[in-house]
Amino acid sequence: MSGFDESLLDDADETERVRFVVNGRKVACEVAPRETLLDCLRNALELTGTHAGCEMGACGACLVQLDGQAVHACLMFAVQADGATIDTIEGLTESGVIADLQAEFHRRNALQCGFCTPGMLVNAHELLSQVTRPSRRDIRDALSGNYCRCTGYEAIVDAIDAVAKARSERGGVT
């Protein structure tokens, strides 16, 4: 009835098998409970497009989509994601849903070192799937949790703004 097995308490580092759908593929991994989703994606699944920055939820380099919503991979444990659908920057790239955002970032030099870019793109993708024509202020608000140490944001905001405009002129999202 309780569902809780007391022997769990005896070996805290014992690994568990977790299953999720990552970038459209079913995967299973063995993880210790203390491994974050970020560790699991980068180390076990070798999806290194998801970047590890602060590992504290402050920089936004580790954003992924979990069941369709942007979340910080450093702020959850892989065991918590058991059964979830995850899309990383690799998956979003392969599927082509952010191709126009990527092209616009490229065109406008909205990156220098590129460390922040995967998180910026995941965030921009989320914003544009919720608000068709965000104001520059909305864009800045949405990016408030993403640190870029190189570009000063202007080109990033320009790129997102341009894509929003182009998409809405085409009549909606992708």
Partner: protein, 286 residues
């Protein structure tokens, strides 16, 4: 940095969560959105033996009317505080506060119950439960109880929650036609914790205030109701003189903490400025 090793248990029901906590003793933590707990574990500020995941407990979800209250399930996410029509209609102060809580991706996971339980004095929602005269419902080994927000926040990160007790829902009195509200905060950057923030709920007849509850955050060890200031506003309408009197009264109600970054006198000044702006808007019905 990495959390110290722990065991993980995903609870499907409240009973399972309480039972697991009881059997692990004080050494267990519930995890909801994890947006405050995971950083605390990574920094090893906390190192429990057992993490009990409560996010799959259906009983903790949902927002619905219950008599004179809106019942907001503990697992209601910050992003739902923005999107849920019942919140916008019956708890508009919470709806107004939600965009100021952290950043979009954090709002996708962080929960209302987690924010109230965590009781960060710089957080928006705990302070708003005070302004709203909300009641916090919790359940523990010795049953379920409801505590008024006025009695819930005890000290820095300390609440009326006893070890092993779980917040199930927050009950907010339904917003009424003769009420007005205001929310605002001063922060260096949108999404950052506020230097000072405030929410208020007033009951009025025409321009006359019958009742007002004003709650500040980021100005002390707990969310802070300013009862002396409230008293200066009751029974009158909101002219410039009345607003100035309320601003003057703040000094006796607030004891801002000493910090190198924001000295107490500056924080008090910011609180006065914020109060003046918000009462001004309230006077014109905003």
């Amino acid at each position: 940095m990495k959390a110290r090793a722990f065991s993980y248990f995903r609870a499907a029901t409240i009973d399972q969560a309480l039972d697991a906590h009881a059997r692990a003793g004080d050494d267990a933590r519930f995890i909801a959105g994890g947006q405050s707990l995971v950083p605390a574990l990574s920094l090893r500020l906390q190192a429990p033996r057992l993490l009990i995941d409560i996010t799959h407990i259906a009983e903790l979800r949902g927002v619905r009317r219950e008599g004179e209250f809106l019942r907001i399930g503990a697992l209601t996410r910050h992003c739902e505080m923005l999107s849920e029509p019942l919140i916008a209609e019956f708890a508009p102060l919470l709806h107004a506060a939600a965009p100021f809580v952290a950043h979009p991706a954090i709002r996708n996971r962080g929960t209302f119950g987690g924010s109230v339980a965590h009781a960060d004095p710089a957080s928006e929602f705990p302070a708003m439960t005070l302004a709203l005269d909300a009641e916090i419902e919790m359940i523990g080994p010795s049953g379920s109880r409801r505590v008024k927000a006025d009695d819930f926040f005890v000290d820095l990160f300390e609440t009326a929650l006893q070890p092993g007790e779980l917040i199930t829902a927050v009950f907010v009195p339904l917003f009424k036609a003769d009420q007005r509200f205001a929310f605002d905060e001063l922060a260096r950057r949108r999404g950052d914790y506020a230097l000072v923030g405030c929410g208020m709920l007033a009951t009025c007849t025409g321009e006359r205030i019958h009742d007002i509850r004003i709650s500040f955050f980021s100005v002390g060890n707990t969310p802070t109701r300013v009862k002396g200031t409230e008293a200066t506003l009751i029974g009158s309408s909101l002219g410039a003189e009345r607003i100035a009197a309320a601003q003057a009264a703040l000094e006796a109600d607030l004891t801002p903490p000493d910090s190198d970054e924001v000295p107490p006198a500056m924080r008090l000044h910011l609180a006065r400025v914020l109060l003046g702006r918000m009462l001004g808007r309230l006077g014109v019905g905003g």
